[in-house]
Symmetry: C2
Subunit: 411 residues, 2 copies
């Protein structure tokens, strides 16, 4: 079952906004066995939107559209949908009620532009949006479906999870089974891993594919199988999985298709362990990954972004002499940082990172990309020096991933 995603908005084409919606939608669709085959982004331009609808409908059975349904003048998706489906706007009492409820919850009063959100295309099935003022609209044409959703990420996420996915499952009786198996792999570059897996990959049957997803210093390997019979497919996938594992052995960090912070979140909760962080070059990024997860307060005590040497000494108790002698990016300092975090936050586990993210600050002995990471769980400490890249953003992300991978290993 092929799906196309169309994201609409000038802000996407001028690069002011990064499209995070389509990735979320794809993950949700994959889970119910639907493949996204194309994604198209167009601006708030009627002809371009109409063309995109036409092309998508010529290729796919389901077209999911986000964006361009806000209350302001630059949002033209609703009127363009009317044109495409040869219909017009009618006032919808139920939508008005939803909007009024949302506004009263926010102690806001309706104005004429938000009132216009209660006008909907007559031919559409209207689905109430509990998170915002623009309703979802569902169109049918020649046995195919087009759904228009808001572009605001949290409204779209709510809509996909609660309304669109269940309705798509019901509307299209899905037959093909789909299975994913992800492995997080360390100690390999993409090409070395491909060499290691060459024979395995060549011998894969046509309906099972292997994808390499380099992810800031680690590689996610993903086996995807499709088949008519779920039980047969599961058996086949289990066989391939066993074979793949035997080829990678201790280089597999995890077999879950989750971000590393989510794996740690699960593990720390299960084992009743608490966590704290001491970050220098990652500058709060690690903390933000954990605190993005709802409920992390059960184990996450806090962190120190000890960007200056004074902060390392004053808050985390790192020895000034060691900072001067070995430098802030050193085994001595990062190990004292991890102990300091455990101590200050009274936590069982800790991760500490100190490195030179770049682009400046490198020396011949410690070039940009040199990062020391220490992890601790109770009395056990592990520390390691990494040499990443010249790119600041890349170095920060790689340090985060490797720090989390080290703690996962230690646990």
């Amino acid at each position: 079952m092929n799906v196309e995603i169309i994201t609409i908005g000038d802000e996407l084409l001028i690069g002011q906004v990064i499209d995070t919606n389509s990735a979320f939608m794809a993950v949700q669709l994959n889970k119910i066995g639907m493949d996204v085959r194309y994604k198209t982004t167009v601006g708030d331009n009627e002809q371009d939107i109409l063309d995109a609808f036409d092309r998508a409908f010529s290729r796919a059975s389901i077209v999911l559209v986000t964006g361009g349904i806000g209350p302001t003048k630059d949002d033209i998706t609703k009127n363009t949908l009317c044109k495409y489906f040869d219909t017009h706007l009618v006032f919808d009492e139920k939508t008005l009620k939803t909007i009024e409820e949302i506004f009263s919850g926010l102690s806001k009063t309706l104005n004429k532009l938000t009132l216009e959100q209660a006008y909907v295309p007559e031919k559409a099935i209207v689905i109430q949006n509990q998170m915002g003022t623009a309703p979802l609209t569902w169109f049918e044409k020649d046995g195919k479906v087009l759904v228009s959703m808001p572009g605001v990420p949290y409204e779209m996420k709510w809509a996909m999870s609660n309304e669109i996915i269940p309705r798509l499952q019901e509307r299209f009786m899905l037959s093909d089974a789909i299975e994913h198996q992800t492995f997080w792999v360390k100690n390999f570059t993409e090409s070395l891993l491909a060499i290691r897996l060459e024979t395995f990959e060549n011998e894969l049957p046509a309906h099972i594919r292997l994808a390499y997803l380099p992810t800031s210093g680690l590689i996610r390997l993903r086996l995807t199988g499709k088949g008519a019979d779920k039980t047969v497919l599961e058996q086949e996938m289990a066989g391939q999985k066993t074979q793949l594992k035997s080829l990678l052995t201790e280089n597999i960090i995890s077999e879950e298709d989750e971000a590393l912070e989510k794996m740690l979140d699960k593990l720390l909760k299960e084992r009743n362990l608490t966590l704290s962080l001491a970050e220098s070059c990652t500058g709060g990024k690690l903390a933000s990954l954990f605190t993005a997860i709802p409920g992390c307060s059960t184990y996450f005590k806090g962190g120190v972004v000890s960007y200056s040497n004074d902060a390392k000494a004053d808050i985390l108790g790192v020895n000034h002499w060691d900072i001067n002698q070995s430098g802030a990016v050193s085994k001595e300092v990062v190990e004292q940082m991890v102990l300091g975090a455990q101590h200050v936050f009274h936590s069982d586990c800790a991760i500490a990172v100190s490195g030179i993210a770049g682009p400046d600050g490198g020396t011949p002995e410690k070039p940009v990309g040199t990062v020391w990471i220490a992890v601790a769980c109770k009395d056990t400490i592990e520390s390691k020096c990494f040499h990443f890249s010249k790119d600041r953003e890349n170095n920060i992300l790689r340090a985060c991933n490797n720090g989390m991978a080290m703690l996962l290993d230690l646990l």
Copy 2:
């Protein structure tokens, strides 16, 4: 001059990777007066890639392609380019040299897959990639251009800035002038702002457009003008800008098209002021925004992610009695947090945030979305209570933006 972007990779269609490349590319292209009209994402599938090339070439003069040129089997862009442009791969000595240099810098040795990266399409102009093993290839056809670039973000960024943008400027003598003017606006919802600006917007000439870009609790307003004569356009834009400013007055936070952290970065450096942070519900996100900026160590001293109440008391010196009496999310606590940050990090300025990000943790008096923010510069403190949304991610981002906006105001 119309440009299309095609991003290639199964990882984009299954949602494992968010496409940040095309936004970066669009910003770079806009600066030289080029408009991105369509973006298409396809998987590692030959027919889909060929179709995407065809469609893009039928609409645009310039087609920029990223992804699918890594060394592994799932990367098929290079061979598909050969097919599309009716050419074949030839060995390129210069590319091999570049790859060898990169590998020797990383103390890695070449393997047979990375060696294959030195085979390039014969009809292409090959541009060396100083950041990775896959070279850039530039094709010409019927006066139009297609460029293939790596999908790895830092390689693509380097390629765009250093090679592609200058070459596009040279190859296409650009005539139309383009001017952008962005305003950061506070205290408005999107629809209330649209009502305030209705007459202004209706009276705008056709070649000047206004776009509303809601950005986590604030709105970026963007005026974009195009015209044959740069001087005339600049005068027109200046007139519109003055008019817009008179309609928004003190609600304008900034007229720069920069993220708020970059504006603070500039301002703090200019005024020789230092900054520290005390974050509860934003959980390190604010710190990560500043530390993503190279050179922030000149003013950024550090931050405390005081997720637990103990951390608020132990590290920042918040009074336990106040936490118990007023709650962690209160004026009393957030003001002590901001003072604590100033004190612990010996900084001139500080931002402190304490709130209920959700989805759990709300009470009838303090529902999810309640966030107290305090900012301080030397002896001046300002604090304010906000009521954001039910969405955790949204609340975190809105708290960050509003905290930075408050400090910008105070400075």
